[in-house]
Amino acid sequence: MKIELQINNSAGPEARFVSWAPSPCRIRVTNPTGALMRIVSIKLTCVSSSTGGVVVFRQGATGSFSESLTLAVPINGTSVPFFVAGRFGRPSINNEDVRIEARAKLTPFGLPNTLVGSLKLMVRIRKNAESLTPGERDRLVAAFAQLNNQGAGRFADFRNMHTNTSSPQAHGAPAFLPWHRAYLLDLERELQAIDPSVALPYWRFDQAAPNLFTLDFFGVSAPNGAVQFSNTNPLQFWVTDGTPGITRVPLNNWVPTTQPGPGVITEAQTLALGNQYSVFRGMEGNPHGTAHTRWDGFIRQIGTAARDPLFFLLHCNVDRLWAKWQRQNARFDPAVAASYDSNASNPVGHNLDDTMWPWNGVTTPPRPPTAPGGAMAASPCVSAPGPQPQVKSSLDYQGSINAVSREGFDYDDVRFA
């Protein structure tokens, strides 16, 4: 007997990526040969190395997860749904380092030990950049460099989305966090189109980062501010605005490999800002703005910040802080006033139901004159947020309120439920 497993309700290998939030899956019998019953009992288990990812299962849309799941599957080919999620705390480090095995009980009195199918997948999670393995690190920088493609690649669109001209779309008003969440997701999906094993890591700017600021990763700042890379690091060919290289130097005698960003409020302090979004979004000043301005160089200002790939790791942490705050305060539902800062005076692009530039393609005032990058990148794993995301679509990124809203990413230290 043979079965087919579908992850994210897709048979394709490109969809075999899960996070902490449950992914809808299916199993069906494709070849019933050997089965003596009309309905067979199939046990799903996870097989993983000691360092690889681990997945857990549940049958319904609610309830607890378990390490295995036994399903009654008809042999006539009817699909049986179930859910898979990464086990919190056990993300993958390589693609396909987790295997789901399906073992069936083919005879009425037999043991469920006949392997009838298996599938490899990945628990793909956004991690602390400090904790990446050399393999994860190398894949990330290679994907970034390829996206940049010496200045001629798609990265130019992401650079052009974050300029002085477009800045009112995303800064100084309530949609600061939702917009940047969508921005990171778009970039991450483009990186995954190059290497699907890549997830955007975050830079904990309130901690020392001895692994991140190295020649093999995001570079070491020379005293004058030029960022240096090893001869094997593809970021040595980074080009933006027609100019190779990155300018970034820590200020005020700060040593980022041994010290947290000076003056940047800690994670605990950030989460304690308040349980209303209208107050919490003040984190745009500190830690966000403060993290930007601990440096001199590209990352210090809006108009040049996106020229430095570190910018995306900085914002990944900003987004993680928001995600953690949301989990802490149950702020995923746009219908709950405290989840967002709705005001009659919010500028266009900052109201919950507004679509966000540039993905909406709107280039008439008050939106900027061009919309680089086109629609939001699609994902083979999820349908959200769609090609033209609204502000509110960024809130329920895990699908906590509505499973369809799941955007397919999670942070290593932010649970699902």
């Binding site: 493609n149 200045g151 001629a152 690649g153 798609r154 130019a156 669109d157 052009n160 300029t163 002085n164 001209t165 800045s167 009112p168 605005d241 027609g242 005076s345 280039t363 005032p365 008050p366 900027p368 004159p369 061009t370 919309a371 680089p372 990058g373 086109g374």
Partner: protein, 543 residues
């Protein structure tokens, strides 16, 4: 006027002095000359700006604008001011243009949208600027700023800006220091009397950012036919190979342009133009091309990426180019509004060209934001102009020359065929008759011209060609009366040649030939006209 110094050698101080002198001249009796000289200095391609950095060009242009603000702005200068408000991102230039606008003789409602657009574009970059002296540094926000100048200009517009009152009242977030200017502008709009509805509401007729050249008046493209381009895939092609054979829409750009209202938007709009052409089934009949100002840096992979990132279609008929040689000739031919420091652009204007199927410039859109639909419409006009020579091409085509060409083409065909028939009918049968004819025709002195019997069969061939073409025309139009008459006329002429006694039949033959040829030609004209009306009905209305 100061002594003319080699323009490229002028220091910034000398340039400022020159501008001041022209300004003084324009304030005096030689107002027109001074004004014109100052306006000329606003052209990007002016030699003064050659080999200057972008920031230097900003200072220089700004000083010219400020000088014009002092002496008064005319219709000729207005376009440059509107251009700055429409697409400018430099605070100094936008502020200077706003100030200069206030010295235009009369406020005009058509100017108001430019002012408001500029406010929205510059408000988050509202850096202080100083007009005190050339290159003065604004070290205090008490100096002026572009938004302040624009608000003052709104106040100057007064009632002419009434349509923008809601937008003005909705403006929030501006510095508190500017609130008095906001209020002043609002009061000026609200408190004023009713609009003078004379010629207040449209831009001056002489202000032209769109140009057309009639079919007969276009400059040929010989000087650039051999210009070699390399496209986004590295394939090479000459100007002649790509731009002749079909009309085309051409834009100029460069990948290092940092004004999002110019090149990035231009190429984005080019993609929209391609989409419009595709929707009308014209993507294979009208080509598009984007040519970089910066061929040394904009290598194929770079321009391909730039185009791809803006959803530009790239294939055999739609390409992104760099000129591997002959950029100067291109610049001269297109009269490009651009200047350089080394190979890098220091400033350029918006410019789109429509070329006809011989690669000649048929139309251009310059300086101000252009509408994609309008560009496509104009390109379609150029496309159909040869198919329907009688169709009106644009309001700027010289009507006289077109109708002349029309009447000539209509009558020439039957006349030639009739003359040929006439000649065959009366061709002399012998040398003596030949001499007699020549003397009758008053060229007796030329009786040494030998009898040329070979002329007769030649004329016969001409007549045969005529009859064949008449029959072909008849079959295509379905109208056969013309061919029948011409055939009968031909037979009559042949009979007279064979039977001299029936010479009178020759006259009838000639008349029938003439009538038949005329009818045939008129039928064909009518059919072409009907066909072109059908074609035009299926396309957007042509201005």
């Amino acid at each position: 006027m100061p002594d003319v110094v080699e323009t490229e050698a002028l220091s910034e101080e000398q340039f400022a002095e020159l501008v001041d002198a022209l300004g003084a001249q324009a304030s005096g009796p030689a107002f027109v000359d001074g004004q014109q000289q100052l306006t000329l200095l606003l052209s990007e391609a002016h030699p003064h700006y050659n080999q200057r950095g972008a920031a230097t060009v900003v200072r220089m242009r700004g000083w010219v604008l400020l000088s014009l603000a002092r002496v008064g702005v005319t219709d000729d200068t207005l376009l440059y001011l509107l251009e700055e408000l429409d697409t400018g991102v430099d605070p100094y230039l936008v502020a200077a243009a706003a100030k200069a606008l206030r010295s235009y003789p009369k406020p005009n409602a058509a100017l108001a949208p430019f002012v408001m657009r500029a406010i929205n574009q510059i408000r988050y970059h509202n850096d202080p600027v100083s007009f005190e002296s050339y290159g003065a540094d604004a070290l205090s926000s008490d100096a002026t700023s572009p938004v302040r100048e624009l608000l003052l200009t709104l106040a100057w517009l007064g009632p002419q800006a009434r349509a923008l009152l809601p937008e003005l009242e909705a403006l929030s977030g501006l510095p508190k220091k500017l609130q008095p200017e906001v209020e002043r502008a609002r009061q000026a709009i609200v408190d004023s009397e009713a609009l003078d509805t004379g010629d207040c509401c449209s831009l001056p007729a002489s202000l032209r950012s769109k140009f057309s050249w009639a079919l007969g008046s276009r400059r040929d493209s010989q000087s650039i036919e051999t210009t070699v381009f390399e496209d986004h895939d590295g394939a090479t092609v000459t100007f002649k190979e790509f731009f002749q054979g079909q009309p085309s829409i051409v834009v100029f750009f460069y990948t290092r342009c940092d004004n999002p209202l110019k090149c990035s938007l231009t190429i984005t709009k080019l993609a929209r133009i391609q989409k419009l052409l595709d929707e009308r089934g014209l993507a294979d009949r009208i080509r598009t091309a984007a040519i970089t100002y910066d061929p040394a840096f904009d290598l194929p992979h770079r321009i391909r990426g730039y185009g791809q990132n803006r959803a530009v279609r790239m294939d055999a008929s739609h390409r992104m180019f760099r000129a591997t040689e002959g950029l100067e000739a291109l610049r001269e031919h297109f009269k490009l509004g651009v200047n350089f420091i080394e190979s890098l652009v220091n400033r350029h204007r918006l410019e789109v060209f429509i070329l006809d199927d011989e690669g000649r410039i048929a139309a251009s859109f310059e300086r101000l934001h252009w509408d994609e639909q309008e560009v496509v419409d104009r390109a379609i006009e150029v496309l159909v102009e040869r198919k329907v020579p009688d169709a009106v091409t644009s309001s700027e085509v010289a009507a006289g020359s077109t109708s002349q060409r029309r009447s000539i083409s209509r009558t020439s065909s039957p006349v030639w065929s009739t003359l040929a028939s006439l000649a065959v009918a009366f061709f002399p049968k012998c040398p003596i008759c030949w001499a007699a004819y020549l003397s009758v025709l008053g060229i007796a002195g030329l009786n040494q011209i030998p009898y040329s019997p070979w002329l007769q069969p030649l004329l016969g061939v001409v007549m045969l060609i005529n009859i064949v073409s008449v029959w072909l025309r008849g079959w295509s139009t379905g109208r056969m009366v013309g061919p029948y008459l011409v055939t009968a006329g031909l037979l009559a002429i042949i009979i007279t040649r064979l039977s001299p006694s029936l010479n009178s039949l020759a006259v009838i033959g000639i008349l029938m030939t003439l009538a038949g040829s005329l009818m045939s030609t008129l039928n064909a004209d009518n059919q072409r006209r009907r066909a072109s009306m059908k074609l035009e009905d299926s396309m957007p209305r042509v201005n």
